[in-house]
Subunit: 233 residues, 2 copies
């Protein structure tokens, strides 16, 4: 890792053994922000806290970013850049949406504390994020989705992805009724016989698969109806 | 509101004008926790902070709860108790699931900061929560869902609900590409012509409706296939 003397009191002569500070780059700031958000959460995240975490003076950080919002855009763009959109260029819209959704969930499952932050974050200024949405939009329009339905369709699938990304970090015993098992026998038996119970596949993967396939079947039916309104009910 | 002298230093004689403290009940503690979680988030929520918020000594709170976990169970049970499950007794499973989902989303949309907390919280000891799951399970089994598919089906719908509940608090301009509009013309035009644009219906309601109806169509198809495996592909 590249190191450089950027201490706040930079007038002191550099000495061997003196703690050097990280070069501040978009990458290093983004990476530090990801770590910090995991531990202190959105409420505890401030430019001052980030500066402490990076061992630089806040003023050094303000040479690179104007505000907390700037840093969060970098984080959003970093995560969205991890989402695989390659399917939209080569596959039917529904197959592409499936691989996009699995990849999107994986990117956010690895940073579950960020889900509620990014889920409500405006996309203005976030280039990678907008690039992703542009690709999804192009594919949906090409498949015949009416322009006015594109956003609600994307948000519907995203809501499922965000909820599912949080579910990945749920404890495996989340549905264990404990001492109340006898009071709720049907639910208890459903938990015990759950198809993921005792298998290597996680309950979260199972549920994501069930929900995503159901969504795709339903969306295909909606598209068919929208494309041939004459045959609508 | 009932008031009572419960100050920690209760040996002092009670004087007129001395600030009285709230009676600590399950209801008053739950209500204070909801308020506190909205402002300080899950990371900032401690028994000590709750005691300060309630203006009582932590020891007074420990007469009612053993831990943060106890308080969170009350909050979970309170929110789940708001979810309308009446449809499961009188309607087909899919209609009941629809009204349950709308009601579930409404309960959590009003407390969006709690979504990531409750979404991964074990249900052990949470009576109202387990009662709700028992009713949903009974209806799904009655409709012919195989026991081993009940949990993944519930989690799939819940993930969509949790993600959608967060989306309710997203700013209305969340998809405004701002200065980058010209770089992403397809997405920009989809945002502008979005079916909720300029209407009274919110984009979040639109997306929830689209996604929920798609899910229900897909789940109905899954159930049909599961009930008549002979006709499966």
């Amino acid at each position: 890792m590249a190191l450089e003397n950027q201490a706040a009191g930079g007038h002191e002569p550099r000495r061997a053994g003196r703690p050097a500070n990280r070069v501040l780059t978009r990458e290093s700031i983004t990476s530090a922000t990801l770590t910090l958000l995991e531990t202190v959460g959105y409420e505890g995240f401030t430019i001052a806290a980030l500066a402490r975490h990076l061992k630089v003076a806040p003023s050094a950080l303000y040479n690179h970013v104007e505000s907390k919002r700037d840093v969060l855009i970098w984080v959003q763009d970093h995560l969205m850049g991890l989402v695989d959109t390659s399917g939209f260029q080569s596959h039917p819209w529904d197959d592409a949406l499936r691989s996009w959704a699995w990849s999107y969930r994986a990117a956010f499952a690895a940073h579950a504390p960020l889900v509620p932050v990014i889920a409500v974050m405006p996309v203005g200024g976030a280039y990678e994020t907008l690039r992703m949405y542009e690709e999804v939009t192009r594919a949906l329009l090409h498949a015949g989705w009416p322009r006015e339905r594109v956003i609600s369709t994307i948000v519907a699938v995203e809501s499922f992805i965000y909820g599912s990304a949080m579910d990945v970090s749920a404890p495996t015993n989340i549905f264990d009724p404990g001492a109340l098992a006898d009071d709720f026998p049907l639910f208890t038996s459903a938990v015990t016989s759950s198809s993921s119970a005792g298998t290597e596949r996680s309950g979260a993967d199972d549920a994501f698969d069930v929900g995503l396939e159901a969504l795709l079947v339903g969306l295909r039916a909606q598209l068919e109806r929208l494309r041939s309104p004459a045959s609508a009910e």
